[in-house]
């Protein structure tokens, strides 16, 4: 039915089956959209956020998707600037994941603000001293970069590419992609960092506050670093999932191993920095304002010491080591374990830097504030996941995303048109 659109030389599942799958995911999207409409129509009272939890699930989701979407900028940086040519086999997919993550992030921001019709004030009336301004500008600009990086892939669609202009456009865009990638890396560095800065500059919140370099707290650099480190984990994880769902090998082991190795070293170096940061924070920053380290962890099961252990050791040190050690890296099960832990680790870090910051009491007579999201929040947070699945499914079906797909799956076989 849609065979004319399917890339040449590859097999795709039958349209009805594809449609059915899309319908199921579409239902989840619809559920999310209902929640979105409710939130826009009735306001943020549809959430369980409150004055203590001004930042909650959404902001975590926002930070998390941006962190895991960091694979796009980092892979792009390696591919186009550092000329790691091997990564061309995964760059398309990394960009697609990036587009999904960043569009989701912008979308989440659009529902998260109290007055969406005024959200352009953040640009127009920008306060350049606010980390959030930096986030908004760099985020939207970087999203533009991602779209630019994605366009050639779209134009390579069998039908679109027949249009001469589109064909040339795709070709020419590839030609100058290094410039865009460099700009993207520049923007990404700042917005990943400024997301870290969002928490780090809050000097009224000793759990989040960090000293730093010039105007940037250490969290600024840690966030950029961690996004670069864990982003590729997420790229690999989504690749693995896509491979499992399609039942095909889509990226060669060589490429995967390379990216895993890079990620492993990044994670390891990041986690060393993070450990140093945590120790400095716990022994110098925190006592200076009269707190003890235990103040931030001991009160309740939700934010016990386990969360620190999970973030740093279990989901930081462990995946880092697993990925830098060749035998474990090249063992597909252990590698999978490592990338799963890595993704959890960076999400936990963002969770802690958003929600634990809000939960910890600062005034001596204040109390811990815990919060449970409403269904509207959950639905809108799941929405991007479902949307991402649809996006990947469509891209995979109609675009030549994986350059290695043919050689890995149909070696020496005659090309068959789609059924």
């Amino acid at each position: 039915m849609d065979s004319a659109l399917i890339p040449e030389g590859v097999k795709r599942t039958s349209f009805p089956k594809f449609f059915l799958g899309m319908a199921v995911v579409g239902a989840v999207v619809l559920w999310g959209l209902i929640a979105v409409v409710l939130i826009w129509w009735k306001g943020l009272n549809q959430t369980n956020m409150n004055d203590y939890y001004g930042f909650a699930l959404w902001i975590w989701a926002d930070l998390a998707v941006i962190a895991v979407g960091g694979g796009a900028f980092f892979t792009g940086l390696l591919k186009y600037i550092f000329k790691v040519d091997e990564l061309k086999n995964i760059i398309n997919f990394a960009v697609i994941i990036g587009v999904i993550c960043y569009s989701s992030a912008l979308f989440i921001l659009a529902i998260d603000v109290g007055q969406p019709l005024r959200s352009w004030f953040i640009f127009w009336h920008a306060n350049v001293h606010s980390m959030l301004t930096e986030v908004a500008f760099c985020l939207s600009c970087y999203f533009a970069v991602l779209v630019i990086e994605f366009i050639p892939n779209v134009l390579e669609n069998r039908q679109l590419n027949k249009v001469s202009f589109f064909h040339h456009l795709a070709h020419n865009m590839h030609g100058v992609m290094a410039v865009f990638a460099a700009t993207g890396a520049f923007l990404s560095f700042f917005h990943q960092g400024s997301l870290g800065g969002v928490a780090g500059v809050m000097y009224g919140r000793p759990f989040a506050f960090r000293e730093g370099l010039l105007i940037w707290p250490w969290t600024f650099f840690l966030f950029t670093w961690s996004a670069a480190a864990f982003g590729p984990c997420f790229t690999l994880l989504v690749t693995k999932i896509t491979e499992a769902v399609t039942g095909k090998k889509l990226v060669s082991d060589k490429t995967v191993h390379l990216l895993a190795k890079i990620s492993g070293w990044m994670i390891t170096t990041y986690i060393i920095a993070k450990i140093i940061d945590t120790i400095y924070w716990a022994t110098v920053t925190v006592p200076a304002s009269g707190f003890t380290f235990s103040h931030f962890f001991s009160n309740n099961a939700f934010y016990g010491y386990w969360i620190l252990f999970a973030e740093i050791v279990l989901c930081g040190v462990v995946p880092g080591l697993l990925l830098i050690y060749k035998p474990t890296r090249e063992n597909s099960n252990l590698r999978l374990l490592a990338i799963i832990l890595g993704v959890i680790g960076v999400c936990l870090n963002r969770w802690v830097m958003v929600l634990q910051v809000m939960a910890v009491p600062v005034m001596s007579f204040d109390t811990w504030a815990l919060y449970i999201p409403s269904w509207q929040e959950v639905a809108t947070t799941i929405l991007p996941v479902a949307y991402g699945i649809m996006f990947i499914a469509l891209a995979y079906r109609y675009l030549p995303v994986f350059p290695q797909e043919k050689e890995l799956n149909y070696p020496a076989q005659p090309v068959v048109e789609g059924e």
Binding site: G43, L44, M49, D51, H129, H295, M363, S364, F365
Partner: protein, 288 residues
């Protein structure tokens, strides 16, 4: 230039916690003065807008040694690290919907500019900022009591105590008409101050040595030698500020005879209080 500086005010407040009875007059006076809305269930204090909130503190001791003190908490109007106006909330607002008035020391909040990102709320350790989660609604006819001097807020924006800035504006209008340069101490008082039946709140210009608040607080404008971020520490041993050590440099001071109350104003690691409690702004006032 010096002439300019002379005109700079630094409005602040000192609240005598020993006089405060926890009656709540300040809260209601504030709500009535500032068109603060109310809703059906206000028992969840985490989404209840009260610019002035009265906290109840206990000394944590068992019956019958228990003691209680009430602590009214308006916006603290932080002047930020080193007193340069970078209060925790102002510097983070992405859309410049809040600023630090260097002429008054008052932290503003502009509802029509705010688009509701709530970053400022996260940044404020005092929970002095409130979000309009709901549309403000008044029972039929009740909107007739709304004051034109303070804009009613729409849903989706942050609001907070303004030190009744509109009262300052009105006082100034009168002064303009009478062609006076300055307003008198009593011409500008916040609604909570005038309402307090116990007279526990004293409000005025911390830059004016004649004002009662300055006489009580005796602020030390030199940085605290222990923490250069802290300025304006009180030289009065009975006076303290909330979370002073963070360097927020609030302009709301508290006064209590009771040591446990003063200790509750900030966080101290074990044994630290003993070495810190008697340390007050002691730097000599330099003339020059």
């Amino acid at each position: 230039m010096k002439q300019e500086n002379k005109k700079e005010h630094k409005f602040g407040m000192v609240i005598d916690l020993d006089k405060c009875t926890g009656c709540g007059s300040c809260m209601v006076s504030c709500m009535a003065e500032n068109n603060v809305p109310f809703k059906e269930d206000e028992s969840n204090k985490k989404d209840s807008i009260t610019w002035m909130r009265v906290y109840k503190l206990t000394n944590g001791k068992d019956f019958p040694e228990t003691e209680v003190v009430y602590m009214p908490r308006p916006c603290q109007h932080c002047s930020g690290k080193g007193g340069h106006g970078h209060s925790p909330c102002v510097s983070v607002c992405p859309a410049t919907a809040t600023d630090y008035g260097k002429d008054t020391g008052i932290v503003s909040q502009i509802y029509t500019r705010c688009f509701g990102c709530r970053y400022c709320m996260g940044a404020c350790p005092y929970h002095a900022r409130y979000f309009n989660w709901w549309d403000p609604k008044w029972p039929e006819g009740m909107e007739n009591y709304l004051s034109p001097n303070v804009s009613p807020r729409m849903r989706g924006v942050v609001e907070k105590c303004s030190f009744c800035y509109h009262r300052y504006q009105l006082a100034r209008e009168k002064a303009y008409l009478e062609e006076r340069e300055e307003i008198e101490e009593m011409e500008y008082q916040t609604a909570c101050t005038t309402a307090c039946p116990a007279g526990a709140i004293v409000f005025g210009d911390l830059n004016n040595p004649e004002h009662e608040v300055t006489k009580i607080v005796k602020p030390d404008d030199h940085p605290d030698p222990r923490n250069p971020d802290v300025v304006g520490k009180s030289r009065n041993p009975k006076v303290f500020r909330l979370l002073e050590r963070l360097g927020t440099n609030t302009k709301v001071y508290y006064l209590s005879e009771r040591e446990w109350v003063r200790k509750a104003g900030d966080n101290y690691t074990e044994g630290e209080w003993e070495t810190i409690k008697n340390h007050h702004g002691k730097t000599q006032i330099s003339h020059g």
